[in-house]
């Protein structure tokens, strides 16, 4: 349970991030991507195929080379889609910016905030 002071400080940081150029660029690229049925369809196809192949692999099946090549071809198509590649490029600008900001939180603490924040999720997922 967060105190009001912590919630306010966290929200203030989130709002400052939201107003930054890197996040605005990412949000626009992400919205453009979601509004493009071709991009959404391609990503959904890739996710479905990846889930199917990994499930079969986990059951002990040796996948034929042709199916792995089909997955790789679809992956390339996804990465080369202009809306998706724009969004991915915008994400790559957000990450170092967020990492720098996280360092500012880490400094007084002496631990990695992001790693500890995700440790709970990792435990719940495992």
């Amino acid at each position: 349970m967060l105190t009001e002071e912590l919630r306010t400080a966290a929200r203030a940081l989130g709002e400052a991030l939201h107003g930054s150029g890197a996040v605005q660029k990412y949000l626009k690229a992400s919205a453009d991507c979601e509004a493009d049925p071709g991009a959404v369809g391609l990503e959904n196809r890739l996710l479905a195929l990846y889930a199917e192949l990994t499930a079969r692999q986990h059951r002990g099946e040796i996948l034929p080379r042709s199916e792995i090549e089909a997955l790789n071809a679809l992956r390339r198509q996804v990465h080369e889609h202009p809306r998706i590649s724009d969004r991915d490029a915008a994400t790559m600008q957000v990450k170092p910016f967020f990492a720098e900001i996280a360092d500012e939180i880490n400094l007084p603490l002496g631990v990695e905030f992001a790693a500890l924040a995700q440790a709970t999720e990792a435990k719940e997922e495992s």
């Binding site: 912590l6 989130g14 967020f98 992001a114």
Partner: protein, 138 residues
């Protein structure tokens, strides 16, 4: 020539909302987190573990076993069994249990703070802020 600085520094301890840049606000948040009872309890638990001779002895022996396994020294099965026993013993030591509990509490607090940041930012913060890992949450 004016001797006044062009930017007036913000005194430490001001409420986060009055500080403008993301870096300022992140520093303010870090200082607030440092002062929480949860984080102070975690620091105390770390100190307790560092001063606990039993824990230190277990850690030393775990390091020896792990190293022996890595370098293929001795019987691997025996080393693995010894390692499992040492880890179980370590987990039962009160100060070590205290550290794990304190860490979980801090982790939950940080998780809630991270969610509040992400909601306001419009995208998840922690998964995108880590220098290692894919950040996809998977």
């Amino acid at each position: 020539m004016s001797t006044q600085p062009s930017v007036i520094p913000i005194p430490p301890g001001l409420p986060a909302a009055t500080q403008r840049t993301p870096a300022d606000r992140a520093q303010a948040l870090g200082r607030l987190l440092l002062g929480t009872p949860e984080y102070q309890a975690y620091l105390q638990a770390l100190k307790d573990v560092n001063h606990d001779a039993d824990v230190q002895r277990h850690w030393g022996r775990i390091r020896e076993c792990t190293s022996a396994l890595q370098w293929g020294k001795g019987d691997a099965l025996e080393q693995q069994a010894a390692l499992a026993t040492l880890e179980a013993d370590l987990a039962s030591l009160p100060s070590y249990r205290g550290l794990r509990e304190a860490e979980e509490t801090v982790s939950r607090l940080f998780h809630d703070v991270d969610e509040a940041i992400g909601q306001a930012a419009g995208l998840p913060f922690a998964p995108n802020a880590r220098r290692s890992g894919c950040g996809c949450g998977g």
